[in-house]
Amino acid sequence: MSDGSPRGRMPSGEGKRPVADAAPTPATRATPGGPARTRVRVTSPRTSAARTRTVSIASEIDEQTRLGEVYITSLMRSQLRLALGVLLVIASTLGLLPLAFHLFPAIGRVDVLGVPLPWLLLTVVAFAEIITLGWLYVRRAERNEATFSDLLEGR
């Protein structure tokens, strides 16, 4: 979907903005700054050409055609891949800890700053990892959804 066109409601824009600025769309005014650009976005893509495509994709989904199914499946796949990625990270870090403790009992006798290493790993480190993964997941999942709705809006 990275066709370099201005993206819709996502102000987070992940580096697409420069591209959008460079694209010499006739409707884009030279005014720099956020508000003016937003206004252009609302009016400019609302050409008849864009609208025709929008109608077709959303109604493809509504009619449950093969094409509509492909769109929904692509959204599901991207979200599922993301979720499985999180699961994989958890499984290969936290999930392998019991095995590591089993195979290398010496880990249990290591002290870090006066605290036994397993205690440190199973409290502060584990919770920090869980929160970080959750935060990354929310960001990515929202981006996937934004991509999907941009796709349906034909941008």
Binding site: Q64, I72, V86, P98, H102, I130
Partner: protein, 566 residues
């Protein structure tokens, strides 16, 4: 020691909870619907309510007790209970909110389009809820016994009574405010004494007997027989069990949309992580100051006894009272949430009589009393399983039943009703058998006995496998509207799409998309207009009335978005 302060604290918490509940009732009478109103609630406040309900007696007392008794291996409990929410976040949170389902049976009905699947889910919700209520009541009895010397049944009865008083008048609506209040109370109650205890530890150089405190089997992981299997089974149960708990799922409805439910869950992760460091600290401090409790078999009461071990006089009394208040808040919030969700399911699916709204309220109230009475009875006959252990087993049941149903139902079009039911029966039967044999004291020896004490590592994969294989065998019977359901579960709300017409209130007459007149006729007797202004509705049946439309209709569209397809 004198315990007047503690008793006063417990009474205060009970009264405050009832008062906040009554306030919530008043408040929601002026609003058309509690859930619509709560849509303006920020993710953080919503997350405190969720955490308030989730942090039960097991978290408040049990974790510290188990860490005191068994050391580092028990750190997996708080981690699992938090990571469970991470998996809930990545696999379930947004789709479940978007489904518009209010309970797990609702979800089964929506996705599998089968009334039998709904009934089986309802039975399981009731079973899990009752099993989870037992340790809550146990904890309450234990707390009052520790504080006052009163017999265990007294405390159990008190909690049961307060829960009934809280639930009977207002149902779901009056509960949410109480939950958020309880979370902050619990946090404060654990945090304040901890500061004092740590201060005392700092001033008292050189503990009693360092060798006994940091015995190697306590500090180093995987002590005891079959530790590797038991640990992995525990990890599996807690990581995957959270998403299958009935009172957890209900809470997701208070989010405005799927996106907000993700953000709320993220806030829950932060809140839980912060909270769970506290019981761990109590367990470790208990090893220092109160290690004799293990031998006495009263490890669960370590949190409550610590202040009086270290301090004396009014300071000890005050801190104990604070902890008692927190513990009581923990029993109240979790058991209230459980009773509400179980009674809701019970009254809707299993004890139906009459079609009208007033009968609905009556059924809900009768169900509430039934649920409380039955779980109280079960608590009396259950042998003394440690509080956190009993909760662990409940998680195993949830992980081997609803977790596969949710995961496969949301992410795999191929799941059929027959497959789901088979998996629920296999996973539920296995794990329930294990739980009952442990809870009611019929342990067995050998490898089989080990599996029975910690069934998840066997029952969870088996349940998944059953669902997949049976679904593949009955491939011709995939639910008719599954494509539409997938659109509903996964497409962001602001996109204007057809998401089907499922509504939890009308589950037994799900109409096809096109025909309306023929199906609508019989339901007019109990149609929503019956409960418009003069009885604004009581109980969960009323609470779930309007929002279920919200996720389907144009109201789900966010205001900032342009409307396509004009």
């Amino acid at each position: 020691m004198s315990n007047t302060a503690s008793i006063v604290a417990v009474i205060l918490v009970s009264i405050t909870s009832l008062a906040v509940g009554a306030f919530g009732l008043r408040l929601s009478r002026t609003m058309s619907d509690f859930y619509v109103a709560s849509r303006g609630v920020s993710p953080v406040l919503n997350a405190s309510a969720i955490s308030g309900e989730y942090l039960s007696a097991a978290s408040f007392l049990g974790v510290a007790g188990l860490i005191l008794a068994r050391g580092v291996d028990m750190l997996w409990l708080p981690i699992g209970w938090t990571a469970g929410y991470l998996l809930l976040l990545v696999f379930v949170a947004a789709p479940l909110r978007r489904s518009g389902a209010y309970t797990l049976p609702d979800f089964a009905q929506l996705r599998l389009e089968s009334v039998v699947a709904r009934r089986v889910s309802s039975l399981l919700v009731v079973a899990i809820g009752l099993l989870y209520l037992i340790p809550q009541f146990q904890g309450a009895g234990l707390t009052l016994r520790t504080l006052t010397g009163a017999p265990s049944w007294a405390g159990q009865l008190v909690v049961a009574l307060v829960v009934c008083l809280n639930v009977l008048p207002g149902g779901m609506r009056s509960v949410t405010l109480v939950q958020a209040f309880h979370y902050w109370l619990k946090l404060f109650a654990l945090l304040t004494p901890l500061f004092f205890l740590l201060g005392a530890l700092g001033s008292r150089s050189g503990g009693p007997d360092v060798g006994a405190v940091f015995a190697s089997d306590w500090v180093e992981p995987l002590g005891g027989e079959n530790a590797l299997y038991l640990t992995y089974s525990l990890v599996l149960a807690t990581f995957f069990g959270t998403m299958g708990l009935p009172h957890v799922v209900v809470r997701f409805y208070t989010n405005p949309d799927g996106r907000a439910s993700r953000r709320t869950t993220l806030a829950v992760l932060v809140i839980l992580s912060g909270f769970y460091l506290l019981p761990v600290a109590y367990g470790a401090l208990g090893r220092w100051f109160a290690s004799d409790l293990v031998a006495a078999g009263r490890a669960d009461s370590v949190v409550l006894e610590l202040p009086s071990r270290v301090f004396d006089g009014p300071l000890a009394e005050g801190l104990t009272a604070l902890l008692a208040a927190g513990a009581f808040a923990a029993f109240l919030s979790t058991s209230t949430g459980l009773v509400v969700s179980v009674a809701g399911v019970l009254s809707q699916d299993l004890v139906r009589w009459g079609g009208g709204h007033r009968q609905g309220i009556r059924a809900f109230r009768v169900s509430t009393v039934i649920v409380v009475a039955v779980s109280l009875g079960l608590t009396f006959v259950a042998v003394g399983v440690p509080v956190a252990r009993a909760v662990e087993l409940t998680f195993a049941v949830a992980a081997s039943t609803f977790c596969p149903m949710l995961l496969l139902g949301i992410w795999w079009r191929g799941l059929t009703a027959v497959g789901a039911i088979a998996g629920l029966v296999v996973g539920g039967g296995l794990s329930m058998g294990a739980v009952l044999s442990t809870t009611f004291g019929h342990g067995s020896d050998g490898w089989f006995g080990v599996v029975m004490t910690q069934p998840a590592a066997v029952s969870v994969p088996l349940s998944f496998a059953t669902m997949v294989l049976v679904s593949l065998a009955t491939r011709s019977r995939t639910p008719e509207h599954v494509s539409q359901t997938m659109v509903r579960l996964h497409a962001p709300e602001h996109i204007d799409l057809n998401r089907g017409s499922f509504h939890p209130e009308r589950w037994n007459r799900r109409p096809a998309r096109t025909d309306t007149s023929s199906v609508r006729v019989p339901e007019q007797a109990e149609a929503p207009e019956e409960r418009e202004p003069d009885h604004p509705g009581t109980g969960p049946s009323a609470a779930r009335e309007r929002p279920a439309y919200g996720s389907v209709g144009p109201t789900a569209r966010r205001p900032g978005t342009t409307v396509r397809r004009s």
